[in-house]
Symmetry: C4
Subunit: 271 residues, 4 copies
């Protein structure tokens, strides 16, 4: 409300929002640095490249870490409720983006830190939150949240099916055909039901092949269920957009159908 | 109707219903025990774990069996029509959950009993029946039941296709390329049509590869059909839930939203 | 209209229709014989079974052939326009069901006749045409016919994509990595785009793997298109059922929406 | 508007349009030549065929090149704005269809030119643009364009998921099980998430198999999202086509079917 905006406030608008030209430029720069730094982590994992460019990648990693550290400090400095930021999802992701490099000074660089370092790719979603994509992202996530319970039931049924199919195949095929244990047979059941089909475990007996065929056709049909759930939800959430935006002049009720002539809540005639 | 509820009735409400705190606690405990006991059966099938913890798993299995037996007896004791329960789907599943362990005393533990024992995982659905998920589960099963006939036609067509494709590939490729018999070629056709694609049998001749390509694109298109069927049904069953069947007492307009209080056509108050 | 129905007419009703008890029984008997005879052809192709039961299967095949021949002759005898039946789709399928066995008397039993013999499985659809499934089958085929053009465009696009991807991978990977020719690389492209993924040909170079990843994600997205087309058509063809069955009293126009109050063609008030 | 059409204009109508019988014949001839010439390029890549029919294919290629060159020159001659055509998408495709053969006179025939030559298959879409399929193609592309943003978000999420899953599996499985680097593990993640499943890289450790199972079920569920997006869009774009935007001049009712002649609400004649 105050027209005088302090230095800190200006910084906050650039860093946390995306409506000003400076804010947009900052976001684009951050995306560029994130993508570039994730590529560097990837390349470091390729033996040939590490042998040749290992040192360059090492210094590049430190450069990115320092840039991200500065950004992290500025974010804490300019936000009003720093602790809320620090313990938010993106606050933790921002911290995890810089921590591994510092830790590698103390600990001898363990392998697992690679995964932590690569989590910085999640920071991309923060930018997404600020842009024109937000409405679309909301439609999608609304649809997914609305389908949550149906999907829970669906997943529970899939898991129960996988347990039963896995143990049946374990008994039919047995260890000599690669179905060495129930958990391993369940792995086969998932590979087959989802139509991935690596072929590292596959039925050898006739009975096993017959059951596997049934499982595949089942899996083929089952995929219709989540698709149907999500399709219906997306269609519905879009339909809500098709609902008229008129508001009752008397009671402010919204959500009227386009062909409604009277308020569905208080009966006042609509425009 | 009577305010005095007997001991048996109280027990029945705890065990068969889920509205009271005790009932909810009982359900959660049962789910916990089921999941734990299914895990035990799985682990027993892993050779390494059985060698090391075989005895512990043996006693654990007896512990679960006794718990489930007690539950089974109490269920029979407190229900009004015990025979109806015993011969119901869940009654049989409950019995199958305990029978194998007792049978293993008489018979030397055969392999097949593992599958029977693991069927106790189906008991999870009983709990599902009692909870807030019931409306969602009904929407799903209504949609599936409504699609039943369409899916029957679809499956019949798939089977006919599999028979024809299987025998054609058997003639084209022959036993020397792994298509040893029509049933085995049908197994290949299912693996390919459902896009699983293990790769344990795959066409070797040029003609076979050309036909296989057509089959794959067919399979790719065919998956659209069950998905379309289920999507349309779910969308319809949701629409029915969202629209009330009330009719305006004045102008007979229907299609009102469930939370509408006044007719959208003439403004008359709805019941 | 005439109450006196001749012997031939009675036979026709039993054989070609399914409304009388005798007609239903006949259809069920035919389905049973078809399924049984298809099973016999399948089993004959299994080397072990042919060695053991070869003679029994030989006589069984002759038994089925004579039964189908009798049925074919009766069909021609009792129908009004026999030539129209003989050259219809099902007339040809009926003939193909019996021809191979007779041909095997003259020719030494060639391999290809197996496929012709198994085509008798198509006769199942004739029965389907007569039953309660007909409405559902029509909804499905209406939806598929309505999507025909969209599916043609879709398939053309897929084929063009397969040609371009196949030749690109042929150049990138080359014969030494299994991509021996453009047609063979196109086979790989189909296997990958449709998410079948046998693994008999798979990219070995880094560039090839990168392109393959793009192809897979493309294929994953592309499957949405036919599914979307068919879903939308099924939903629409079901909606048409939701259209009111009222007919304008004045001009006989049908297809009015359920909430229409006046004929959309001539303006007459509807009931 | 002028009734006298010059020679050039007549040619233009035949070549660039498809409403006249000559125009249709020209289009069909062009499609025939394109398909035939693409087949020739494919066959040339098969070693056996090149050995036997190499020379014939060489002269065939020159024949097609000269035909396409003539067509290209006539197109430039008869169109009003030749430069606009030359630098349009189809102009460039037309040029690329003839360039490689001429280049092979100067350069020793490099491998990569094969891909350029096969791009002529894209010319098929030009014909598609002119036919009755155009309305259907527009419905499809409208739906895809409308889903563009949602699909961008979806693809970004998939890529982030692939990066995280790939590096996690790289740490869990390591180079000794085929997960030699993060990019290679990402290739595995794409192969698995899209349910292609070649099986050239597959998890060997128990932890890896467990994570892979989760990834597969995820991928299985994720496919529901693009399908849902596209289904909803196609359904919407079809609805828009089926409903006219006319409003009743008397009562302002909208939502009339395209073939309605009278208002469905008050019976007034529509325009």
């Amino acid at each position: 409300m105050s027209h005088k905006i302090g230095h800190r406030e200006k910084l906050r608008i650039i860093i946390f929002e995306a409506d000003t030209p400076m804010g947009k430029f900052f976001d684009e720069a951050v995306i560029f640095v994130i993508v570039f730094s994730v590529f560097a982590v990837m390349l470091e994992s390729v033996a040939d490249i590490k042998d040749q460019f290992g040192e360059a990648l090492f210094w590049l990693e430190w450069f990115f870490t320092i840039v991200f550290t500065l950004e992290y400090i500025i974010r804490i400095y300019c936000i009003n409720k720093p602790f809320r930021y620090i313990f938010s999802f993106f606050g933790i992701v921002d911290l995890l983006a810089i921590l591994p490099t510092y830790l590698s000074l103390i600990l001898s660089g363990t392998h697992i830190l690679v995964v932590v370092r690569i989590l910085r790719v999640l920071r991309i979603f923060r930018i997404l939150k600020l842009t024109k994509y937000i409405a679309e992202a909301q439609t999608l996530s609304t649809a997914l949240v609305a389908s949550q319970r149906k999907i829970t039931i669906f997943l529970t049924s899939i898991l129960v099916l996988v347990v039963i199919l896995g143990s049946t195949m374990y008994v039919i095929e047995g260890a000599e055909n690669g179905f060495t244990s129930i958990p391993h047979s369940m792995y086969w059941a998932v590979v087959t039901l989802t139509t991935v089909g690596y072929g590292d475990v596959s039925p050898q007996t006739n009975l096993g092949k017959a059951l596997a065929s049934v499982v595949m056709i089942l899996g083929y049909g089952i995929i219709a269920v989540p698709t149907g759930i999500v399709s219906a939800e997306i269609a519905k959430s879009q339909q809500n957009i098709n609902t008229s935006t008129r508001i009752c002049p008397d009671c402010n009720e919204d959500g009227h159908d386009r062909d409604s002539q009277f308020c569905r809540h208080c009966g006042t005639e609509l425009d």
